[in-house]
Amino acid sequence: MSSPTLPPSESFKFSMLLSDTRYRGMSLQVITFIIFMAVFFWLVDNTIKNLALLDKDVSFNFLSLRAGYDINQRLIPYTSDSTHGMAALVGILNTLLVAFVGCIIATVLGLFVGILRLSKNWIVAKLMSAYIEGFRNVPVLLWIVMVFALLTEFTPAPRAFKGAEPEASMLFFESIAITNRGTYFPAPVLAEGAYWLLLCFGLSIVASIYFIRYANKQKKVTGKSLPTFWISVAVIIFPTLIVFFAMGQPVSLEYPYLKGFNFKDGIHLRNSFLALTLALAFYTSAFIAEIVRAGIMAVSKGQSEAAASLGLRPNKIMSLIILPQALRIIVPPLISNYLNLTKNSSLAIAVGYMDVRGTLGGITLNQTGRELESMLLLMGFYLAVSLLISSFINYFNRSFQIVVR
């Protein structure tokens, strides 16, 4: 406090709450808070009153009632006899699946496009600009509908695969079928002994992580870099291969085949899922590419020149000098793009993908008439997921930042 200590004024006047700088800040905050709470309580009260007028109450009991409808894509067992709560859970998992796969594709694509846009090759740089501007400047809903239309209109129906001389045929040695109802891949079938294989695979990954750490340490101490990539690939692949043959090939592939109206067996990626995931990933990757470009350009040019003068090759400069510094700038805005992708996945209804908006916020809401409850649950879900994602990446981000001593 720089002001001289004066004796407190004789009497405290009420008007001083607004006129005196010592109290004004606090009293304005209190007033704002009171107004906020008043509006909030009025909204709640108004809602309850109007619901009462409509003869409705607020109850979440519907979650334990029989749902009665079927969902095409289920990651957990679900039938029409399951509850509305289970239907919501199926939807939640479908949302998370799209968000997870979409974020991975968007990050990889965005990284590539962002780096390539800075390429000295004129054609590559311009192509990448076109990609970014094309995806970034068209509403994502249109991209979703567009990809879906392409997938359903320009691919053959399962029936085209039938007959002695079919109009369409499966790709890659009769293993992958692309149809207007989705793409069918062979599915791995685990036989006895497959768990040993999985265990071996897991251990190999752990081993390769330890190896990479060891290699990094060596590099710091001796300055020699080991061929980390190839060695870790070998560490992951060879032991697993040996165990695979030693156990008598416990994993086989189950190929999709045409039976009746549709393909049976195999992994079925529905067009609704593909369209939603791909469109969201393409769209978000355009934003990520720009973030990556900004991050790289923010690293001062002197850094790469210094590295070049030390004799490092361009790809080494990128991976050892530029990217580690650029990551500090890239990661924070990346979070909001992951959040956007997750929230944009609620556009799923446009292509009939049964995400949580489609099950809980769509069919369940409609069959039970519980609009308010369903919407509150939906908002709670998206809020929780968004907070989880951002706290996770914030944690991750801390390890990149410069440690200030």
Partner: protein
């Protein structure tokens, strides 16, 4: 300053705290009727080449508007998908929902709505392409089925396939147009919805003869108009306009001959058309000649049916159970007394 805030708050509270009682007064004050219809169901609610709303449900709302205002055009049609219709009705966005909606127990009770009666006895059917060679729904095991979300057909479908030990893959769509597009693109083997809508959709396809509506009807779908719980007078008005159209067909009163009944000895016709002495329509707050106007708007039930769904419309749906009880159907109105 504080007083101003409180004043604004109070005003807001009064403005937003409206109630739903007195729908008739609201409609009269507004000067038109807000009628929720389908976003495009051939025969029930579509827009014709000249941009005019036409259809079976549309004509019912026009009759209702005529009963209230004497003007069948005093209606604003609000297109609603099956998924948002009940929310729109509950929120007061429409005064009445005439959107081929099935009357069920839970919609009547749990969704807090009042069904005004049945204006079309329907059932759920399936449409397939003829080249598929399917002749019966029992051959649909493993099929991919296009279905509109948030409908009773969705629940019937699940039950029907389960009862018959068959499997299927649902392809959810938002409305009839999207279902149709998916069905034509071959993204689903069969499209299921109310049989009337299937017939209506089929005749509008490029080659109607390439498609077949399977003979089985797997459910009862009594369709009818509905309003919110809580305003019985409004429900009575909607119910009795519907009944008036049915009675008119029974009595042979048509759009064209409606003015020639002044000398009839049938007291019910006088009560209905407001040509008698007693003014019983004042009980619900309607003018004496309200039902006269309603019938004059689009004709009696039979005429509305013929124009929108029957032979004149090209959709060619038989009257079947939807014929008057005097002609072997189950359409039967309580007496207008």
């Amino acid at each position: 300053m504080k007083k101003l805030f409180l004043g604004v708050l109070t005003a807001l509270a009064l403005a937003a705290g409206g109630t739903f009682a007195g729908t008739l007064d609201d409609v009269k004050a507004r000067g038109n009727l807000l009628c929720g219809v389908s976003t495009g169901a051939p025969g029930f609610a579509t827009v014709d080449d000249s941009g005019k709303d036409v259809g079976f449900d549309v004509d019912y709302c026009r009759a209702l508007a005529a009963a209230i205002f004497g003007d069948p055009m005093a209606v604003k049609f609000v297109g609603l998908t099956s998924a948002v219709r009940f929310t729109a009705l509950a929120a007061g966005e429409v005064d009445i929902l005439a959107r081929n909606t099935t009357w069920t127990y839970s919609r009547d009770t749990d969704l807090k709505q009042t069904f005004l009666g049945v204006n079309y006895y329907d059932g759920q059917g399936f449409m397939v392409k003829k080249e598929l060679g399917v002749k019966s729904t029992t051959e649909l095991d493993g099929a991919t089925v296009c279905i509109q979300v948030g409908t009773t057909t969705e629940l019937n479908l699940a039950d029907y396939f389960k009862e018959n030990g068959m499997s299927y893959e649902p392809v959810p769509t938002a409305d009839n147009a999207e279902s149709q597009q998916q069905y034509l693109a071959g993204a689903c083997d069969t499209y299921t919805t109310d049989a009337s809508a299937l017939h209506g959709t089929r005749v509008n396809l490029e080659n109607p003869d390439d498609h077949l509506v399977l003979p089985e009807i797997i459910s009862k779908e009594p369709l009818g108009p509905l309003v919110r719980h809580g305003d019985d007078n409004w429900a009575d008005i909607g119910r009795w306009v519907l009944n008036a159209l049915v009675i008119a067909e029974e009595k042979g009163i048509t759009k064209d001959n409606i003015d020639s009944w002044k000398d009839t000895k049938d007291a019910e016709i006088h009560r209905l058309l407001g040509t008698g002495d007693d003014d019983i329509l004042a009980m619900v707050g309607l003018p004496k000649n309200a039902m006269y106007n309603a019938i004059k708007a689009g004709g009696n039930y039979g005429e509305i049916f013929e124009n929108n769904l029957g032979a004149t419309s090209g959709i060619n749906i038989e009257r079947g159970v939807n014929a008057s009880w005097t002609k072997g159907g189950i359409l039967y109105s309580p007496p207008f007394r």
